[in-house]
Subunit: 463 residues, 2 copies
């Protein structure tokens, strides 16, 4: 005996698009928890925007809570589905509809995987600049809904800066179609901003027009050492001015993290000696491999002479580039060395990062259950990641670590999430970086756009 | 006998901040209409955010419509105050609160003029990249509220991309304070997006933290001729790839406009012969004047050899640069030659621009009351400006011109406003580029945030 809601969904969408019972149990809620079967009332697999609209109209009429699934790579609990929820998974909306090399745009459905977008752009000698670890799994709908960041934000911006047009379905099934390719549009409210970064609580993104850029013809990197954070900031400004907008990466790595990244089972050997306090992995993408490398070299020489930097290694070949970036992107050391871990992606004003992290580490060092403090970050964007390795998973210890890392943020105008979002995991800490008035306004928006609270309920904010 | 509303405003703010009667008549609603005295119930001149909040609380309790004034440079009728409205003018909120050269941010009040922001940045060897003709008058609050664009959007983005933090006051006087300096912030809804580009209908922007960038060390320009629009697009892609992110301007000028710009009373003599169909004024800003000029030269030589471009002139000196850009920014020819005029700032997908404008001109040529069609644009952003010179100012002719220029936009996914906004003048045409569902959602947002409809009523959308 099926619920009337399920009956109506099946009648309107067809049974192949509405999974129930045993069909659901082979699915999961996160790529790190594939062994745990999905629990939900049903899982809808729409093939078109109209399917999404139909599903939402029906669920809306039943006040039925919905949890939206994409690539299931989020890090804040957003897709931990509850038993009373209906899942809408966008995996079958997976067409790249158009790559327009003259407008330099790509039109995609929500279920297209990031790497497929990157590859489709590359085929037309263009670049989709968004890039991060989960690129082989993360889907565009989720990427847009969470305003994903990653490694090249400094130069190309967050996902928000790359979305030109959007199609989204509101809680009641209304389709908001604004799939424009234009770069500038001041025709009244910029509604797409509502769907970007609101983590699926205001609407379901079904399609988007994304901006592409010309594919850079060169890529150069250097690895540089410091003992003083102020010199890191000086160097950031110096290289940014000297490289004149071709700088595409400026990744800071703290000493303990660098040692972890270059010690077995890590994939790579060290690039510079292991006794400096900070290391920067720098990247430029320009138009001429040799010219651009010489430019970077002469800037590094100038920075050495002025004692801004203490040591540096310039990638001289494709294999050096691979070496440097494999080190940065290798997660083996963290996974293997941490029995239990907590991940953070805080944001701070750039000049505060050095002293704040120093102080956080002093406090974490006092806790004997903490074994590792891997700190690295997209520091040109003010974004620091911390991976804290612990001997146990007690709630008390988790809370203690959260308190140490989040408590400085409020006073300094930082954020508990630079890029991962709030989901359910960070909801209790949202008030540290958003005022009561801001949270009230968010609730007002949520009530206006989803008065029944059916879209990703309990995520981000409570109403 | 003063109205109770005015009495309450005076009591709570002080009479120096509440102008009435004769004090109002010396004021005006637009810098182009200084001779027409302002008509309003009162004009409030807040000196602090608290003053703005107090004024709004009182007006809100009386359901009193408000019109917000800044530099009064808008082009769409937004500040054409009605007699029953109270003006809140932000001109006394004119402090630059901080320039932080390490975070590369500037914190400003809403009444600070754009040029003052540019100058304050320059003093710390930084650049505030926003730039447009009204820079000496336009104020930051209005610039943010209208998401202003201008000459360097292609590289640095619209105002939206430059706002890091915002403080705004809601219709009921609630202060939303989110004056953060951080670049990445995914802590729930990005509320600042609501106030950017909504033309003061959802809240009054009182302060903001704006992003600064390193001041480029070089500036180079070239002036290039074409007869075929497709070659313009090829050249855009070619130069963008070749200049590797240092391209900062790519202004297209149509033949009739170029002739106007270089014929007395225009300030400048022609750069290239006057018989090409299109001209591009190109700008790059990099790190080394001579190296970057040589780079531009070699790219121009390559483009000439491949017959992508027909003619080119490279600025070889500071005085050449002044010559080229004075020509582009000179408004004398338009002002002097047009008896009556209509201005447009439409947005189109880049490859469509050539044929669409060709067709518009064919249609305008059939109307004998039309004497001039000056067309130019920030074509790398898909933004075309048209200034149509007419023999008379009849509503019928105005409507006819609007119809010719706006009617192709709908089908092509264009916009009736790339940068000027909607205000009152373009409200009837909004439906050409936004769907019914979008406009309904806009009204829903307006009702949620300003249910009494007191903020800039009748502007942008009707509720």
């Amino acid at each position: 005996m099926r619920l009337p809601l399920i009956e109506e969904l099946v009648q309107n969408l067809g049974s192949d698009k509405v999974l129930t019972g045993e069909e659901i149990k082979v699915r999961y809620t996160h790529i790190w928890k594939m062994a745990e079967p999905l629990k939900a009332l049903a899982c809808i697999l729409p093939k078109t925007t109209e399917d999404v609209s139909t599903a939402l109209k029906i669920c809306h009429s039943y006040d039925q809570p919905i949890n939206i699934h994409g690539g299931l790579t989020n890090l804040v609990g957003s897709t931990e589905t509850l038993e009373n929820e209906v899942v809408i998974s966008l995996e079958k909306l997976n067409n790249i509809e158009e790559v327009d090399d003259k407008s330099r745009t790509i039109t995609v459905q929500a279920g297209v995987v990031l790497e497929a977008v990157q590859n489709a752009a590359k085929e037309k000698d263009l670049l989709f600049p968004l890039n991060f670890g989960a690129k082989g799994t993360a889907m565009m709908g989720g990427i847009i809904s969470t305003n994903a960041g990653g490694l090249r934000v400094f130069r190309y911006g967050m996902t928000r800066n790359l979305v030109l047009g959007i199609e989204a379905v509101l809680a009641d099934g209304t389709v908001i179609n604004s799939l424009k390719k234009i770069i500038k549009d001041n025709s009244a409210y910029d509604l797409k901003q509502l769907f970007i970064g609101s983590e699926g609580t205001l609407g379901i993104v079904t399609r988007a027009v994304m901006k592409l850029v010309e594919n850079p013809k060169s890529r150069n990197s250097a690895f540089v050492a410091f003992n003083d954070f102020d010199r890191v900031v000086d160097f950031l400004k110096f290289m940014d001015a000297g490289l004149a907008s071709t700088m595409s990466g400026f990744e800071l790595i703290w000493n303990e993290c660098y040692r972890g990244m270059t010690t077995l089972p890590a994939l790579t050997k060290p690039i510079l000696p292991k006794d400096y306090k900070y290391y920067v992995l720098l990247e430029s993408m320009g138009s001429d491999q040799e010219e651009d490398r010489n430019k970077m070299l002469s800037l590094l020489e100038e920075a050495t002479t002025s004692e801004m930097i203490l040591d540096a290694s310039l990638a001289m070949s494709e294999s050096d580039l691979t070496w440097f970036w494999t080190m940065r992107e290798d997660v083996h050391p963290f996974v293997s060395q941490c029995k239990f871990d907590q991940h953070f992606d805080i944001s701070l004003p750039i000049p505060q990062i050095g002293p704040v992290i120093d102080n956080i580490i002093i406090q974490l060092d006092k806790i004997k259950e903490i074994e590792h403090k891997f700190v690295f970050g997209h520091v040109a964007d003010g974004n620091v990641h911390l991976i804290i390795g612990k001997t146990n998973d007690s709630q008390e210890l988790t809370n203690k670590v959260n308190d140490i890392i989040y408590s400085p943020l409020s006073e300094l105008g930082g954020s508990v999430s630079a890029e991962h979002g709030i989901g359910t995991h960070k909801k209790p800490y949202l008030k540290l970086c958003r005022t009561q008035e801001e949270i009230k306004l968010m609730k007002n928006l949520k009530m206006a756009m989803d008065p029944k609270g059916i879209l990703n309920p309990g995520r981000v904010i409570d109403i």
